[in-house]
Protein backbone atom coordinates (compact mmCIF):
# COMPACT_ATOMS: atom_id res chain seq x y z
CA UNK A 1 0.00 0.00 0.00
CA UNK A 2 2.64 2.53 1.01
CA UNK A 3 5.01 1.49 -1.78
CA UNK A 4 2.31 2.14 -4.33
CA UNK A 5 1.79 5.59 -2.89
CA UNK A 6 5.49 6.27 -3.02
CA UNK A 7 5.93 5.15 -6.63
CA UNK A 8 2.96 7.19 -7.75
CA UNK A 9 4.58 10.19 -6.07
CA UNK A 10 7.94 9.58 -7.70
CA UNK A 11 6.52 9.14 -11.17
CA UNK A 12 4.62 12.39 -10.90
CA UNK A 13 7.65 14.36 -9.77
CA UNK A 14 10.26 12.69 -11.95
CA UNK A 15 10.25 15.38 -14.64
CA UNK A 16 10.93 18.29 -12.32
CA UNK A 17 13.45 16.50 -10.13
CA UNK A 18 16.57 17.65 -11.95
CA UNK A 19 15.56 21.30 -11.97
CA UNK A 20 14.64 21.12 -8.32
CA UNK A 21 17.98 19.62 -7.34
CA UNK A 22 19.81 22.27 -9.37
CA UNK A 23 17.91 25.07 -7.66
CA UNK A 24 18.60 23.57 -4.25
CA UNK A 25 22.32 23.17 -4.88
CA UNK A 26 22.50 26.76 -6.11
CA UNK A 27 20.62 28.07 -3.09
CA UNK A 28 22.82 26.19 -0.64
CA UNK A 29 26.00 27.07 -2.56
CA UNK A 30 25.47 30.79 -2.04
CA UNK A 31 26.07 30.27 1.65
CA UNK A 32 29.65 29.09 1.16
CA UNK A 33 30.81 30.89 -1.97
CA UNK A 34 31.91 34.06 -0.09
CA UNK A 35 34.48 31.98 1.85
CA UNK A 36 36.61 32.26 -1.29
CA UNK A 37 37.33 35.92 -0.55
CA UNK A 38 36.14 36.58 3.01
CA UNK A 39 38.12 35.21 5.98
CA UNK A 40 36.22 32.69 8.11
CA UNK A 41 35.81 34.91 11.20
CA UNK A 42 34.31 37.78 9.27
CA UNK A 43 32.27 35.27 7.31
CA UNK A 44 30.77 33.96 10.55
CA UNK A 45 29.89 37.48 11.73
CA UNK A 46 28.32 38.33 8.38
CA UNK A 47 26.40 35.07 8.38
CA UNK A 48 24.80 35.82 11.73
CA UNK A 49 24.00 39.35 10.56
CA UNK A 50 22.55 37.98 7.33
CA UNK A 51 20.42 35.39 9.09
CA UNK A 52 19.07 38.05 11.46
CA UNK A 53 18.28 40.38 8.58
CA UNK A 54 16.66 37.53 6.66
CA UNK A 55 14.43 36.62 9.61
CA UNK A 56 13.22 40.20 9.89
CA UNK A 57 12.52 40.50 6.17
CA UNK A 58 10.62 37.23 6.46
CA UNK A 59 8.26 38.82 9.00
CA UNK A 60 7.12 41.27 6.31
CA UNK A 61 7.31 38.86 3.40
CA UNK A 62 5.25 36.07 4.99
CA UNK A 63 2.12 38.22 5.10
CA UNK A 64 2.75 39.70 1.69
CA UNK A 65 3.05 36.31 0.04
CA UNK A 66 -0.17 34.97 1.56
CA UNK A 67 -2.08 38.13 0.67
CA UNK A 68 -0.98 37.72 -2.91
CA UNK A 69 -1.41 33.96 -3.00
CA UNK A 70 -4.90 33.95 -1.54
CA UNK A 71 -6.61 36.87 -3.25
CA UNK A 72 -4.15 37.83 -5.94
CA UNK A 73 -3.82 41.19 -4.21
CA UNK A 74 -0.64 43.24 -4.62
CA UNK A 75 -0.42 45.10 -1.34
CA UNK A 76 2.05 47.97 -1.51
CA UNK A 77 0.79 49.33 1.82
CA UNK A 78 2.66 46.56 3.60
CA UNK A 79 5.63 48.88 4.16
CA UNK A 80 3.33 51.32 5.98
CA UNK A 81 2.36 48.65 8.53
CA UNK A 82 6.06 47.97 9.00
CA UNK A 83 7.02 51.59 9.66
CA UNK A 84 3.99 52.18 11.89
CA UNK A 85 4.96 49.16 13.91
CA UNK A 86 8.47 50.57 14.23
CA UNK A 87 7.22 53.93 15.52
CA UNK A 88 4.70 52.40 17.91
CA UNK A 89 7.47 50.25 19.35
CA UNK A 90 9.79 53.26 19.50
CA UNK A 91 7.23 55.31 21.46
CA UNK A 92 6.50 52.53 23.87
CA UNK A 93 10.21 51.93 24.43
CA UNK A 94 10.52 55.66 25.16
CA UNK A 95 7.72 55.43 27.71
CA UNK A 96 9.21 52.32 29.30
CA UNK A 97 12.57 54.09 29.44
CA UNK A 98 10.96 56.79 31.60
CA UNK A 99 9.91 54.17 34.14
CA UNK A 100 13.41 52.73 34.01
CA UNK A 101 12.74 49.44 32.22
CA UNK A 102 14.92 49.84 29.18
CA UNK A 103 18.42 51.01 30.00
CA UNK A 104 20.06 50.19 33.30
CA UNK A 105 17.53 47.52 34.21
CA UNK A 106 17.69 43.74 34.50
CA UNK A 107 17.15 41.08 31.89
CA UNK A 108 13.52 40.54 32.94
CA UNK A 109 12.67 44.17 32.23
CA UNK A 110 14.52 44.10 28.93
CA UNK A 111 12.69 41.03 27.75
CA UNK A 112 9.34 42.39 28.95
CA UNK A 113 9.99 45.72 27.23
CA UNK A 114 10.65 44.06 23.89
CA UNK A 115 7.67 41.75 24.26
CA UNK A 116 5.39 44.66 25.16
CA UNK A 117 6.59 46.62 22.14
CA UNK A 118 6.02 43.66 19.86
CA UNK A 119 2.53 43.18 21.29
CA UNK A 120 1.66 46.86 20.81
CA UNK A 121 2.93 46.74 17.22
CA UNK A 122 0.99 43.53 16.63
CA UNK A 123 -2.27 45.09 17.80
CA UNK A 124 -1.81 48.39 15.96
CA UNK A 125 -0.68 46.65 12.75
CA UNK A 126 -3.54 44.15 12.91
CA UNK A 127 -6.15 46.89 13.40
CA UNK A 128 -4.71 48.95 10.55
CA UNK A 129 -4.81 45.85 8.38
CA UNK A 130 -8.47 45.11 9.08
CA UNK A 131 -9.53 48.71 8.46
CA UNK A 132 -7.54 49.00 5.25
CA UNK A 133 -8.81 45.67 3.91
CA UNK A 134 -12.46 46.37 4.66
CA UNK A 135 -12.38 49.97 3.47
CA UNK A 136 -10.08 49.97 0.47
CA UNK A 137 -8.50 46.70 -0.60
CA UNK A 138 -11.94 45.08 -0.90
CA UNK A 139 -12.78 47.54 -3.69
CA UNK A 140 -9.79 46.47 -5.75
CA UNK A 141 -10.28 42.70 -6.02
CA UNK A 142 -9.46 41.51 -9.51
CA UNK A 143 -7.56 44.58 -10.71
CA UNK A 144 -3.82 44.76 -10.11
CA UNK A 145 -3.69 48.32 -11.39
CA UNK A 146 -6.29 49.49 -8.86
CA UNK A 147 -4.48 47.57 -6.13
CA UNK A 148 -1.16 49.20 -6.92
CA UNK A 149 -2.65 52.69 -7.09
CA UNK A 150 -4.87 52.40 -4.02
CA UNK A 151 -2.43 50.60 -1.73
CA UNK A 152 0.39 52.93 -2.78
CA UNK A 153 -1.85 55.92 -2.11
CA UNK A 154 -2.86 54.54 1.27
CA UNK A 155 0.78 53.92 2.08
CA UNK A 156 1.78 57.50 1.23
CA UNK A 157 -1.01 58.90 3.39
CA UNK A 158 -0.17 56.63 6.31
CA UNK A 159 3.48 57.66 6.16
CA UNK A 160 2.53 61.36 5.99
CA UNK A 161 0.30 60.93 9.05
CA UNK A 162 3.19 59.20 10.77
CA UNK A 163 5.45 62.19 10.06
CA UNK A 164 2.87 64.49 11.64
CA UNK A 165 2.30 62.28 14.69
CA UNK A 166 6.01 61.68 15.28
CA UNK A 167 8.58 63.53 13.21
CA UNK A 168 9.96 63.48 9.68
CA UNK A 169 13.53 63.05 10.99
CA UNK A 170 15.62 60.08 12.02
CA UNK A 171 15.23 59.06 15.64
CA UNK A 172 17.55 56.98 17.78
CA UNK A 173 16.08 53.83 19.26
CA UNK A 174 17.33 52.75 22.67
CA UNK A 175 18.22 49.09 22.89
CA UNK A 176 17.10 47.43 26.15
CA UNK A 177 20.05 46.81 28.44
CA UNK A 178 20.16 43.03 28.21
CA UNK A 179 20.35 43.13 24.41
CA UNK A 180 23.05 45.77 24.13
CA UNK A 181 26.55 44.86 23.09
CA UNK A 182 27.78 41.55 21.79
CA UNK A 183 29.28 38.21 22.64
CA UNK A 184 32.76 37.26 21.56
CA UNK A 185 32.88 33.58 20.66
CA UNK A 186 36.39 32.70 19.47
CA UNK A 187 36.88 36.10 17.83
CA UNK A 188 33.48 35.96 16.19
CA UNK A 189 31.62 39.05 17.38
CA UNK A 190 27.91 38.28 17.71
CA UNK A 191 25.66 41.25 18.39
CA UNK A 192 23.12 40.16 20.99
CA UNK A 193 20.05 41.55 19.33
CA UNK A 194 20.86 39.68 16.12
CA UNK A 195 20.42 36.48 18.05
CA UNK A 196 17.11 37.77 19.40
CA UNK A 197 16.04 38.55 15.83
CA UNK A 198 16.91 35.03 14.72
CA UNK A 199 14.99 33.51 17.63
CA UNK A 200 11.92 35.68 17.00
CA UNK A 201 12.04 34.91 13.27
CA UNK A 202 12.23 31.17 13.90
CA UNK A 203 9.40 31.39 16.44
CA UNK A 204 7.18 33.20 13.94
CA UNK A 205 8.04 30.69 11.21
CA UNK A 206 7.19 27.86 13.60
CA UNK A 207 3.93 29.52 14.56
CA UNK A 208 2.88 30.10 10.96
CA UNK A 209 3.80 26.56 9.94
CA UNK A 210 1.87 25.14 12.89
CA UNK A 211 -1.26 27.05 11.90
CA UNK A 212 -0.84 26.33 8.19
CA UNK A 213 -0.08 22.62 8.51
CA UNK A 214 -1.97 21.52 11.60
CA UNK A 215 -5.21 23.50 11.73
CA UNK A 216 -8.39 23.64 9.71
CA UNK A 217 -7.76 27.34 9.11
CA UNK A 218 -4.39 26.44 7.62
CA UNK A 219 -6.01 23.91 5.30
CA UNK A 220 -8.53 26.52 4.19
CA UNK A 221 -5.81 29.11 3.52
CA UNK A 222 -3.62 26.67 1.58
CA UNK A 223 -6.62 25.48 -0.39
CA UNK A 224 -7.60 29.09 -1.08
CA UNK A 225 -4.14 29.83 -2.45
CA UNK A 226 -4.63 26.94 -4.88
CA UNK A 227 -8.28 27.42 -5.86
CA UNK A 228 -10.58 30.00 -4.29
CA UNK A 229 -13.68 28.85 -6.12
CA UNK A 230 -13.53 25.32 -4.75
CA UNK A 231 -13.09 26.63 -1.21
CA UNK A 232 -16.15 28.87 -1.66
CA UNK A 233 -18.32 26.07 -2.98
CA UNK A 234 -17.30 23.91 -0.03
CA UNK A 235 -18.97 26.46 2.24
CA UNK A 236 -16.29 28.94 3.30
CA UNK A 237 -16.51 32.69 2.98
CA UNK A 238 -13.15 33.25 1.37
CA UNK A 239 -13.37 37.03 1.81
CA UNK A 240 -13.57 36.67 5.56
CA UNK A 241 -10.63 34.30 5.53
CA UNK A 242 -8.77 36.85 3.44
CA UNK A 243 -9.52 39.72 5.84
CA UNK A 244 -8.09 37.54 8.59
CA UNK A 245 -4.96 36.78 6.59
CA UNK A 246 -4.56 40.45 5.67
CA UNK A 247 -4.88 41.41 9.34
CA UNK A 248 -2.34 38.78 10.42
CA UNK A 249 0.02 39.83 7.63
CA UNK A 250 -0.20 43.49 8.66
CA UNK A 251 0.40 42.55 12.30
CA UNK A 252 3.49 40.55 11.36
CA UNK A 253 4.83 43.40 9.25
CA UNK A 254 4.38 45.76 12.22
CA UNK A 255 6.21 43.30 14.47
CA UNK A 256 8.94 43.19 11.84
CA UNK A 257 9.12 46.99 11.97
CA UNK A 258 9.62 47.06 15.73
CA UNK A 259 12.26 44.35 15.55
CA UNK A 260 14.00 46.17 12.72
CA UNK A 261 14.08 49.48 14.61
CA UNK A 262 15.78 47.90 17.63
CA UNK A 263 18.05 45.93 15.28
CA UNK A 264 19.17 49.10 13.47
CA UNK A 265 18.97 51.26 16.62
CA UNK A 266 17.30 54.01 14.62
CA UNK A 267 14.10 54.74 12.72
CA UNK A 268 13.00 57.01 9.89
CA UNK A 269 9.72 57.38 7.98
CA UNK A 270 11.04 55.90 4.72
CA UNK A 271 12.09 52.60 6.33
CA UNK A 272 8.77 51.00 5.37
CA UNK A 273 9.29 51.47 1.66
CA UNK A 274 12.91 50.33 1.91
CA UNK A 275 11.86 47.16 3.63
CA UNK A 276 9.01 46.58 1.18
CA UNK A 277 11.51 46.37 -1.67
CA UNK A 278 13.36 43.58 0.11
CA UNK A 279 10.10 41.85 0.98
CA UNK A 280 8.89 42.00 -2.62
CA UNK A 281 12.17 40.52 -3.86
CA UNK A 282 11.83 37.77 -1.28
CA UNK A 283 8.22 37.01 -2.21
CA UNK A 284 9.13 36.75 -5.88
CA UNK A 285 12.17 34.55 -5.16
CA UNK A 286 10.17 32.30 -2.83
CA UNK A 287 7.14 32.02 -5.10
CA UNK A 288 3.91 33.94 -4.59
CA UNK A 289 1.78 32.28 -1.94
CA UNK A 290 4.44 30.10 -0.35
CA UNK A 291 5.43 30.86 3.25
CA UNK A 292 8.28 28.35 3.18
CA UNK A 293 9.47 29.86 -0.09
CA UNK A 294 9.48 33.30 1.48
CA UNK A 295 11.48 32.02 4.40
CA UNK A 296 14.14 30.55 2.12
CA UNK A 297 14.11 33.67 -0.02
CA UNK A 298 14.49 35.92 3.00
CA UNK A 299 17.48 33.97 4.29
CA UNK A 300 19.09 34.12 0.84
CA UNK A 301 18.52 37.84 0.52
CA UNK A 302 19.73 38.55 4.07
CA UNK A 303 22.92 36.56 3.57
CA UNK A 304 23.65 37.83 0.07
CA UNK A 305 23.06 41.40 1.14
CA UNK A 306 25.57 41.11 3.98
CA UNK A 307 28.26 39.25 2.04
CA UNK A 308 28.07 41.67 -0.86
CA UNK A 309 27.73 44.77 1.33
CA UNK A 310 30.99 43.76 3.03
CA UNK A 311 32.82 43.21 -0.25
CA UNK A 312 31.29 45.84 -2.53
CA UNK A 313 28.82 48.00 -0.59
CA UNK A 314 27.18 49.80 -3.53
CA UNK A 315 26.19 46.48 -5.13
CA UNK A 316 24.31 45.03 -2.15
CA UNK A 317 20.77 45.66 -3.36
CA UNK A 318 21.70 44.99 -6.99
CA UNK A 319 23.05 41.57 -6.03
CA UNK A 320 19.66 40.63 -4.61
CA UNK A 321 17.89 41.71 -7.75
CA UNK A 322 20.39 39.58 -9.69
CA UNK A 323 19.61 36.55 -7.54
CA UNK A 324 15.93 37.14 -8.15
CA UNK A 325 16.47 37.35 -11.90
CA UNK A 326 18.55 34.15 -11.98
CA UNK A 327 16.00 32.22 -9.94
CA UNK A 328 13.17 33.43 -12.13
CA UNK A 329 15.10 32.29 -15.20
CA UNK A 330 15.44 28.80 -13.78
CA UNK A 331 12.01 28.69 -12.16
CA UNK A 332 9.59 31.35 -13.38
CA UNK A 333 7.25 30.70 -10.44
CA UNK A 334 9.94 31.18 -7.80
CA UNK A 335 11.44 28.56 -5.49
CA UNK A 336 8.19 27.10 -4.20
CA UNK A 337 5.50 28.87 -6.21
CA UNK A 338 2.68 26.98 -7.87
CA UNK A 339 3.36 26.12 -11.49
Amino acid sequence: MTTQTATAGLQEQGGTDFKKVAVWIASVGIWFLPLLWIDPTTYAVLTVAGLAMGMLIFLTASGLTLIFGLMDVLNLAHGAFFVWGAYVGFSLLGALQKVGWVEGAGAAQSISSVLLCLLAALVVGGLMGIVLEKMLVRLTYGSHLKQILITMGASLILVEILKVVWSPNDEVVIVPAAFQGSWDIMDVIITKFRVVAIVVGLAVLGGIQLVMMRTKLGIIVRAGVENKEVVETLGYNIRRVFTGVFCAGAALAAVGGTMWSIFKEQIHPAMGEENLIFALIVVIIGGMGSVTGSFLGAIMVGLAFNYVAYTMPPLALGANIMIMAVILLIRPTGLMGKE
Binding site: A8, R222, A223, T233
Partner: protein, 236 residues
Protein backbone atom coordinates in the same frame (compact mmCIF):
# COMPACT_ATOMS: atom_id res chain seq x y z
CA UNK B 1 -47.31 15.93 -5.59
CA UNK B 2 -44.37 16.65 -3.29
CA UNK B 3 -42.49 19.94 -3.28
CA UNK B 4 -39.43 20.04 -5.50
CA UNK B 5 -36.12 20.18 -3.63
CA UNK B 6 -34.79 22.63 -6.21
CA UNK B 7 -36.50 24.59 -8.92
CA UNK B 8 -35.36 27.13 -11.48
CA UNK B 9 -37.92 29.41 -13.09
CA UNK B 10 -37.11 31.56 -16.15
CA UNK B 11 -33.47 31.78 -15.15
CA UNK B 12 -31.23 34.04 -17.21
CA UNK B 13 -27.49 34.28 -16.73
CA UNK B 14 -24.93 36.53 -18.36
CA UNK B 15 -21.22 35.84 -18.39
CA UNK B 16 -19.71 39.24 -19.02
CA UNK B 17 -21.84 40.53 -21.90
CA UNK B 18 -22.78 37.06 -23.22
CA UNK B 19 -26.36 35.97 -22.63
CA UNK B 20 -25.68 32.32 -21.74
CA UNK B 21 -28.82 31.07 -20.00
CA UNK B 22 -31.88 32.43 -21.78
CA UNK B 23 -34.77 31.04 -19.78
CA UNK B 24 -33.99 27.80 -17.98
CA UNK B 25 -36.91 26.08 -16.24
CA UNK B 26 -36.13 23.01 -14.18
CA UNK B 27 -37.52 21.29 -11.16
CA UNK B 28 -36.03 18.44 -9.23
CA UNK B 29 -37.93 16.08 -6.97
CA UNK B 30 -36.34 14.87 -3.76
CA UNK B 31 -34.88 11.41 -4.05
CA UNK B 32 -35.14 11.26 -7.85
CA UNK B 33 -31.83 11.37 -9.63
CA UNK B 34 -32.10 13.71 -12.59
CA UNK B 35 -29.80 14.12 -15.54
CA UNK B 36 -29.25 17.34 -17.43
CA UNK B 37 -28.56 16.53 -21.05
CA UNK B 38 -27.67 18.61 -24.05
CA UNK B 39 -24.97 19.26 -26.57
CA UNK B 40 -21.60 20.74 -25.76
CA UNK B 41 -22.14 24.42 -25.00
CA UNK B 42 -25.86 24.02 -24.29
CA UNK B 43 -25.49 25.67 -20.87
CA UNK B 44 -25.47 22.65 -18.55
CA UNK B 45 -22.40 23.63 -16.58
CA UNK B 46 -23.53 27.24 -16.43
CA UNK B 47 -26.85 26.06 -15.00
CA UNK B 48 -25.12 24.24 -12.14
CA UNK B 49 -22.75 27.17 -11.60
CA UNK B 50 -25.72 29.52 -11.50
CA UNK B 51 -27.40 27.42 -8.84
CA UNK B 52 -24.17 27.56 -6.82
CA UNK B 53 -23.99 31.34 -7.22
CA UNK B 54 -20.70 31.17 -9.13
CA UNK B 55 -22.25 32.79 -12.19
CA UNK B 56 -25.22 34.53 -10.55
CA UNK B 57 -28.56 34.64 -12.33
CA UNK B 58 -29.47 38.07 -13.66
CA UNK B 59 -33.17 37.28 -13.47
CA UNK B 60 -35.51 34.43 -12.62
CA UNK B 61 -36.08 32.45 -9.44
CA UNK B 62 -34.05 29.69 -7.93
CA UNK B 63 -35.75 28.03 -4.98
CA UNK B 64 -33.97 25.48 -2.82
CA UNK B 65 -36.05 23.68 -0.22
CA UNK B 66 -38.55 26.53 -0.22
CA UNK B 67 -35.94 29.27 0.09
CA UNK B 68 -34.89 31.73 -2.61
CA UNK B 69 -31.18 31.29 -3.23
CA UNK B 70 -30.53 33.23 -6.44
CA UNK B 71 -28.89 36.11 -4.56
CA UNK B 72 -26.75 33.93 -2.34
CA UNK B 73 -22.98 33.67 -2.43
CA UNK B 74 -21.50 30.25 -3.27
CA UNK B 75 -20.53 29.57 0.34
CA UNK B 76 -24.07 30.36 1.50
CA UNK B 77 -25.61 28.01 -1.07
CA UNK B 78 -23.18 25.29 0.05
CA UNK B 79 -24.27 25.82 3.64
CA UNK B 80 -27.89 25.30 2.62
CA UNK B 81 -26.90 21.70 2.03
CA UNK B 82 -25.69 21.58 -1.55
CA UNK B 83 -22.61 19.64 -2.58
CA UNK B 84 -20.98 20.59 -5.86
CA UNK B 85 -18.59 18.57 -8.00
CA UNK B 86 -17.36 20.90 -10.74
CA UNK B 87 -16.56 19.91 -14.31
CA UNK B 88 -12.77 19.93 -13.95
CA UNK B 89 -12.53 17.59 -10.92
CA UNK B 90 -11.34 20.48 -8.81
CA UNK B 91 -9.49 18.56 -6.13
CA UNK B 92 -6.77 20.49 -4.37
CA UNK B 93 -3.52 19.08 -5.71
CA UNK B 94 -1.24 20.51 -3.04
CA UNK B 95 -3.37 19.13 -0.21
CA UNK B 96 -3.31 15.51 0.86
CA UNK B 97 -6.38 13.36 0.28
CA UNK B 98 -7.04 13.60 4.00
CA UNK B 99 -6.85 17.39 3.91
CA UNK B 100 -9.19 17.50 0.91
CA UNK B 101 -11.74 15.63 3.00
CA UNK B 102 -11.15 17.71 6.12
CA UNK B 103 -11.61 20.85 4.06
CA UNK B 104 -14.92 19.53 2.80
CA UNK B 105 -16.19 18.57 6.27
CA UNK B 106 -18.34 21.43 7.47
CA UNK B 107 -18.56 19.76 10.87
CA UNK B 108 -15.65 17.58 11.87
CA UNK B 109 -17.66 15.48 14.31
CA UNK B 110 -18.23 11.78 14.91
CA UNK B 111 -21.13 11.52 12.49
CA UNK B 112 -18.97 12.94 9.73
CA UNK B 113 -16.10 10.61 10.49
CA UNK B 114 -18.56 7.71 10.57
CA UNK B 115 -19.56 8.66 7.01
CA UNK B 116 -15.93 8.33 6.06
CA UNK B 117 -16.23 4.61 6.69
CA UNK B 118 -19.00 4.38 4.08
CA UNK B 119 -16.87 6.46 1.73
CA UNK B 120 -13.88 4.15 2.20
CA UNK B 121 -16.11 1.20 1.28
CA UNK B 122 -17.37 2.97 -1.84
CA UNK B 123 -13.96 4.32 -2.81
CA UNK B 124 -11.24 2.09 -1.30
CA UNK B 125 -8.56 4.14 -3.09
CA UNK B 126 -9.34 7.08 -0.85
CA UNK B 127 -8.13 5.07 2.11
CA UNK B 128 -5.15 3.76 0.21
CA UNK B 129 -3.98 7.25 -0.76
CA UNK B 130 -5.16 8.96 2.44
CA UNK B 131 -1.84 10.63 3.15
CA UNK B 132 -0.75 11.25 -0.46
CA UNK B 133 -1.06 14.57 -2.17
CA UNK B 134 -4.19 14.63 -4.30
CA UNK B 135 -1.99 15.72 -7.20
CA UNK B 136 -0.53 12.21 -7.56
CA UNK B 137 -3.93 10.54 -8.02
CA UNK B 138 -5.03 9.27 -11.42
CA UNK B 139 -7.84 11.02 -13.28
CA UNK B 140 -10.40 8.50 -12.08
CA UNK B 141 -9.21 8.73 -8.49
CA UNK B 142 -9.37 12.52 -8.60
CA UNK B 143 -12.94 12.30 -9.80
CA UNK B 144 -13.77 9.86 -7.02
CA UNK B 145 -12.18 12.21 -4.49
CA UNK B 146 -14.21 15.12 -5.85
CA UNK B 147 -17.45 13.16 -5.56
CA UNK B 148 -16.65 11.54 -2.23
CA UNK B 149 -15.61 14.90 -0.84
CA UNK B 150 -19.00 16.38 -1.75
CA UNK B 151 -20.74 13.39 -0.16
CA UNK B 152 -19.01 13.74 3.22
CA UNK B 153 -21.44 16.32 4.64
CA UNK B 154 -24.80 14.60 4.52
CA UNK B 155 -26.04 17.24 2.05
CA UNK B 156 -29.56 16.86 0.64
CA UNK B 157 -28.49 17.73 -2.84
CA UNK B 158 -25.46 16.86 -4.91
CA UNK B 159 -24.67 18.58 -8.21
CA UNK B 160 -22.20 16.61 -10.31
CA UNK B 161 -20.85 17.99 -13.57
CA UNK B 162 -19.71 15.48 -16.21
CA UNK B 163 -17.89 13.01 -13.97
CA UNK B 164 -17.17 10.60 -16.83
CA UNK B 165 -15.15 13.14 -18.83
CA UNK B 166 -11.82 11.65 -19.90
CA UNK B 167 -12.18 8.44 -17.92
CA UNK B 168 -11.75 4.84 -19.08
CA UNK B 169 -14.96 2.76 -19.43
CA UNK B 170 -14.07 0.55 -16.47
CA UNK B 171 -13.67 3.60 -14.25
CA UNK B 172 -16.97 4.95 -15.53
CA UNK B 173 -18.64 1.70 -14.45
CA UNK B 174 -17.21 2.09 -10.97
CA UNK B 175 -18.43 5.69 -10.84
CA UNK B 176 -21.93 4.65 -11.92
CA UNK B 177 -22.02 2.07 -9.17
CA UNK B 178 -20.85 4.60 -6.57
CA UNK B 179 -23.22 7.36 -7.65
CA UNK B 180 -26.09 4.87 -7.64
CA UNK B 181 -25.23 4.14 -4.04
CA UNK B 182 -24.98 7.83 -3.17
CA UNK B 183 -28.32 8.48 -4.81
CA UNK B 184 -30.03 6.35 -2.14
CA UNK B 185 -29.02 8.97 0.43
CA UNK B 186 -28.98 12.22 -1.50
CA UNK B 187 -30.81 13.79 -4.40
CA UNK B 188 -28.37 13.73 -7.29
CA UNK B 189 -28.42 16.14 -10.22
CA UNK B 190 -26.04 14.93 -12.85
CA UNK B 191 -24.79 16.70 -15.96
CA UNK B 192 -23.58 14.06 -18.37
CA UNK B 193 -22.78 13.78 -22.06
CA UNK B 194 -22.04 10.09 -21.76
CA UNK B 195 -25.49 8.64 -22.47
CA UNK B 196 -24.52 5.25 -21.11
CA UNK B 197 -23.75 6.78 -17.73
CA UNK B 198 -26.71 9.16 -17.86
CA UNK B 199 -29.18 6.36 -18.55
CA UNK B 200 -27.75 4.16 -15.80
CA UNK B 201 -28.17 6.83 -13.13
CA UNK B 202 -31.01 9.15 -14.12
CA UNK B 203 -34.68 8.61 -13.32
CA UNK B 204 -35.79 11.95 -14.76
CA UNK B 205 -34.09 14.01 -17.42
CA UNK B 206 -34.09 17.52 -18.83
CA UNK B 207 -32.61 18.56 -22.13
CA UNK B 208 -31.06 22.00 -22.50
CA UNK B 209 -30.30 23.60 -25.81
CA UNK B 210 -28.91 27.08 -26.48
CA UNK B 211 -29.43 28.11 -22.88
CA UNK B 212 -33.06 27.01 -22.68
CA UNK B 213 -34.95 24.00 -21.37
CA UNK B 214 -36.32 22.22 -24.43
CA UNK B 215 -37.47 18.85 -23.15
CA UNK B 216 -38.12 16.81 -20.06
CA UNK B 217 -39.38 13.40 -19.11
CA UNK B 218 -38.52 9.97 -17.79
CA UNK B 219 -35.15 8.53 -18.61
CA UNK B 220 -36.81 5.17 -19.28
CA UNK B 221 -38.75 6.77 -22.18
CA UNK B 222 -35.82 8.71 -23.59
CA UNK B 223 -33.75 5.56 -23.92
CA UNK B 224 -36.10 4.41 -26.70
CA UNK B 225 -36.78 7.83 -28.26
CA UNK B 226 -34.27 7.78 -31.12
CA UNK B 227 -35.71 10.96 -32.64
CA UNK B 228 -35.18 13.06 -29.56
CA UNK B 229 -31.73 11.67 -28.91
CA UNK B 230 -30.79 12.39 -32.51
CA UNK B 231 -32.17 15.91 -32.47
CA UNK B 232 -30.68 17.26 -29.24
CA UNK B 233 -27.91 14.91 -28.27
CA UNK B 234 -26.52 13.88 -31.62
CA UNK B 235 -26.83 10.20 -30.74
CA UNK B 236 -27.85 7.95 -33.57
Amino acid sequence: MAEPILSLTKVHTYIEQHHILQGVDLSFMPGRATVLLGRNGAGKSTTLRTVMGLTPASSGDIVLKGRAVQAMKPYEVAKQGVGFVPEDQAVLYTLSVEENFRLAMLNENETTWARMETIFQLFPDMKKFWRSKAGVLSGGQKQMLAIARAFVNDHDLLLIDEPSKGLAPIVVDHLIESINHIKNHTTVILVEQNFYMASHIGVDYFILDDGRTVHQGLMADLVHDEGLKQKYLGIA
